[in-house]
Symmetry: C2
Subunit: 226 residues, 2 copies
């Protein structure tokens, strides 16, 4: 895994809130590991489209900075445009609501990463299989090994694209409400409300006789039992 | 609030997964009410940028279909470009991990809305104050009424933009794993893991002597106590 600092270019350098910028690539990788959904921004026609997508990460992947893998239907409208332009993938985890004494300083605690790059369509069969396994294992580590290999028909229906993790930035806000010097003279409650994601007990399909796999139970525990 | 169906144009009609399309505007408004973070897609220079943003909603707002309000620093790099183009705002809530017998049918349960439109910069002082109150009340309903009005300096530093909710689409997936006819002959566990957001007890700033307001406690309970 590369240890280059984040934000190597002006276009991934935040114009605002630089105090919240994070320059540690390990924290980017930790955020990508925590998050389950990414938002992909692609220009389709004359306007941007932002779509929620699952993803997988290979920190030692073939692309500069490691590889972020996305997949989609070969019939998806965003696929062809995405291969002809630079796209943006943003991953955000909400960590809390920040309630200051002023509306102006109301905020959120969060971690957010912005990755910009030119997607590469993955054509090599081995890399495609590996990328799809990474997407499945991103949901539940160890899950891919429980499943049979993708069929030829499934592979033909699925496009896999790779985005280098080289050009990325990360911002984070944590802790309590920002206090302006004058705010101490105000009255009223201020503080923050931690927010997090939890999972509930797995729901087994009625045609299944096998027990819930340990890997799934571990994932539920890791996400925090709801 | 308009009752027009969603997806009135081709560019907000999903190209894939039309079975997951939701045509009920009330469910769009319910999703916007549930979600705390939106992702704004804007073309800045030669590529899209996707940024997490707080937002507020006025179902009876002055724009066609109601109004989605965003705010940001007047110095934000995305602001000027956003006012000269159509942008996309996407709101996604993750509801679960779907673990099928095949990797191909691994999926997520989610609700996601895509809104496309030309932002309008809000200049009217009354509408700006109201919009900023809506953003604060989106975090904790009733919070804005506890705070003093924004100062002239705060208002001068804050841009408010309005996006019509007219051109929007929504997709939703819920329930268990998709079963292909052949999957019954496979073995192995399949099911889904419900996922949701919870809040923890509010953390009061150490300079505050007032108790946690009821509105904040209600919000924590509503989000689900963690």
């Amino acid at each position: 895994m590369t240890t280059q600092p984040l934000s190597p270019t002006t276009r991934t350098t935040p114009t605002r809130g630089r105090n919240r910028q994070v320059d540690d690539r390990r924290r980017l990788m930790a955020l990508l590991s925590d998050a389950l959904v990414a938002h992909l921004g692609v220009v389709v026609g004359a306007h941007p489209v932002v779509l929620p997508v699952a993803f997988g990460v290979d920190a030692a992947g073939p692309d500069d900075g490691g590889t972020l893998y996305l997949h989609g239907s070969v019939a998806a409208g965003w696929l062809a445009p995405a291969l002809e332009q630079d796209v943006c993938v943003t991953v955000t985890e909400l960590d809390g609501l920040v309630l200051a004494r002023t509306g102006f300083h109301h905020s959120m605690n969060y971690r957010s990463a912005v990755v910009i790059g030119r997607p590469r369509r993955v054509t090599d069969l081995e890399e495609r299989r590996r990328a799809l396994d990474l997407v499945v294992d991103h949901m539940v580590p160890g899950r891919a090994a429980m499943l049979g290999p993708a069929t030829r028909k499934e592979l033909a229906a699925t496009a896999v694209i790779a985005l280098p993790l080289a050009e990325a930035s990360m911002k984070q806000r944590e802790g309590g409400a920002t206090l302006e010097p004058g705010d101490l003279e105000l009255t009223g409650w201020a503080g923050h409300v931690p927010v997090r994601r939890v999972a509930s007990a797995p729901v087994t399909e009625d045609y299944v006789s096998e027990p819930v796999p340990d890997a799934v139970l571990r994932r539920v525990a890791e996400l925090g039992r709801g």
